[in-house]
């Protein structure tokens, strides 16, 4: 099968310490993939390189047939690679609705001037807010959101570009069981209904097994093994 994302020989060092050492793997279109590894194994560095926040020292990244190794994070988002952060950095002065509207505008989703309608007939911002369970809090400043709502907002922001690939960095950490279940359902729906592939970074093996078809294990900066679920 043709790869949606392929990473080859990704290497990264910080102050002489090699954090990633020739990481090579691929993700097929619509494939749910998990990334597991102990603390300090290089998971977040790999996510940062894949999303364009950090450049690799060596190696190449191809997405949808295009070489994107040096493409910045905003350009990758517009191509269809969206990421969430382990620690959300919300816009303190913006409301939830505005935060999603910014991502919708930047992501280039179909929307006529004046905030018209998306393919489903609803304005895409409102649709996303409803889908992520944030509609009732759309006028609340992001700075006042709870941890669970911030994660939902991260999801809404990531889904705003109709991503082909979602990179989720510890998105389920520090959540209540109910919030975790709702976000897992949201992720499953995006994968099932829109064919969105995802790379889910987590410390929680049962969760990875329930959501992913394949789990990559990162140890000391290398893909040590790969397990099909």
């Amino acid at each position: 099968m043709t790869s949606l994302l392929s990473a080859e020989g990704l290497t990264k060092s910080f102050n002489g310490t090699r954090v990633l050492d020739g990481v090579t793997f691929s993700v097929a279109p619509g494939e749910p993939v998990g990334l597991f590894g102990p603390n300090g194994s290089g998971k977040t560095t790999l996510v940062n390189i894949l999303s364009g926040l950090l450049p690799p020292d060596a190696g190449t990244i191809r997405f949808d047939g295009k070489e994107i190794t040096r493409l910045p994070i905003d350009a990758r988002y517009r191509l269809g690679i969206a990421r969430t952060f382990q620690i959300p950095h919300p816009y303190p002065a913006l409301s939830v609705r505005e935060a999603v509207a910014v991502a919708v505008a930047a992501g280039g989703r179909e929307r006529p001037e004046g905030g018209g309608t998306g393919s489903g007939g609803e304005p895409p911002v409102e649709k996303l807010l409803a889908r992520t369970g944030l509609f009732d809090q759309r006028f609340v400043p992001c700075a006042l959101l709870s941890q669970g709502c911030l994660r939902r907002l991260e999801f809404a922001r990531a889904l705003a570009c109709r991503p082909k690939l979602l990179i989720l960095d510890e998105v389920f950490s520090a959540l209540s069981a109910a919030d975790e279940e709702e976000l897992a359902a949201l992720l499953r729906a995006a994968n099932r209904d829109e064919g969105t592939a995802f790379l889910l970074v987590s410390h929680n093996p049962p969760l990875l097994k329930s959501l992913c078809r394949r789990i990559l294990v990162l140890e000391e900066g290398r893909i040590a093994r790969e397990r099909r679920v």
């Binding site: 992501g107 905030g115 400043p141």
Partner: protein, 347 residues
């Protein structure tokens, strides 16, 4: 593909402005000359209007976009010098020179924005401060032009502006400056509440999230500098036309600090707050005919008190207090009530 920010649905920042107080204030200012004030007081107000527009232009860059510039006098001074040089040396008519001055100031802002775009926080402040100081020193230390009659232009004495009038009546300049302030403030307010303004607020709030949401933040930072500098240039051109001379003080660090102080006191990112703060503080401190050193001390004291007790400035403090009261009463935060009202109106 680039962000289609023009189509962002209007959000809380685009809420209909409660203009009753503003309209009352403008009305009072319109009537003020009828109370037969002396020419000095009218001049203080006229300068205050131009400084208020300049403070609001700082707010576009430093408040809305969060790029704390300490060199905002640069586009202001570029415009005053452009006006002086183009009218006196090149013989351009004043309106054309003013237009060119605004364009040049805007171009200077684009340049500053391009250089500072990769930087953040204190580094932006240091870079902008350095650039403005280089221009200030160059203007202050060099009497490099030779005017008609063989005397030197430039240096601390500055360069005269060739004005089409010999002695404009104070009422005319007062009303012209007030009109300019209203138009410029309206333009900046519209910009700050547009889709681009919303994206700039996002960039100011969390650059990393903005980038991860597909925003090319360097481009938007440049845009903030370009737009803010254009308005600063317009204020500078108006100032040059008012005082009839471009001097090195137009590029001074004091002017940049003054704009930042007005914005901090009035409420960063609100546009109207800095305008009101600039008018009140300038008229109060200048109207008391205090010596310059005392005025600087008063500005510094005002800034310290504001930063210590009202970090959101006057507008921010009032807005937050209103939001707290509404929340206590079970309503939505005041800042977001406009968005909610529009939403309900659509249904």
């Amino acid at each position: 593909m680039t962000p289609r920010w023009k189509g962002i649905p209007p959000g809380p920042w685009a809420a209909p402005f409660r203009g009753g107080w503003l309209a009352a204030g403008i009305g009072l200012l319109l009537l003020f000359p009828l109370s037969s004030p002396d020419a000095y007081l009218l001049d203080v107000f006229t300068t205050g209007f131009l400084l208020a527009a300049f403070a609001a232009s700082w707010d576009v860059v430093g408040g809305v976009a969060g790029q704390i510039t300490l060199g905002h006098a640069l586009p202001f001074g570029v415009a005053t010098y452009a006006c002086a040089l183009l009218t006196t040396l090149a013989g351009w008519p004043l309106p054309l020179a003013c237009l060119a001055a605004v364009l040049l100031a805007s171009a200077a802002g684009t340049g500053v924005g391009a250089v500072s775009a990769p930087l953040s926080g204190p580094f932006v402040a240091l870079l902008t401060l350095s650039l403005a100081e280089i221009a200030h020193e160059a203007a202050a230390g060099n009497a490099f032009l030779s005017g008609p009659g063989g005397y030197a232009w430039g240096g601390e004495g500055g360069i005269p502006v060739a004005l089409p009038w010999s002695d404009a009546p104070p009422f005319a300049t007062y009303y012209a400056a007030l009109c300019f302030l209203c138009l410029a403030s309206y333009g900046m307010l519209r910009f700050s509440r547009s889709g681009a303004g919303l994206i700039l607020r996002a960039v100011a709030g969390s650059p990393i999230t903005a980038q991860a949401s597909g925003i090319p933040i360097a481009r938007f930072k440049r845009m903030a500098f370009t737009v803010g500098s254009a308005f600063a240039g317009a204020a500078g051109a108006g100032f040059a036309a008012h005082v009839g001379r471009a001097t090195a003080a137009d590029l001074s660090i004091e002017l940049s600090f003054q704009a930042a102080t007005f914005a901090a006191v009035g409420g960063r990112g609100t546009i109207v707050g800095p305008v009101v703060a600039a008018l009140v503080l300038h008229v109060l401190f200048q109207g008391l005919s205090l010596p310059p050193a005392a005025r600087v001390l008063l500005y510094a004291a005002t800034l310290l008190v504001t930063l210590r007790f009202f970090p959101g400035g006057v507008a921010g403090t009032v807005r937050d207090a209103a939001a707290r009261i509404r929340r206590r009463n079970g309503g939505r935060p005041a800042r977001h009530a406009g968005g909610a009202r529009r939403e309900e109106g659509k249904r």
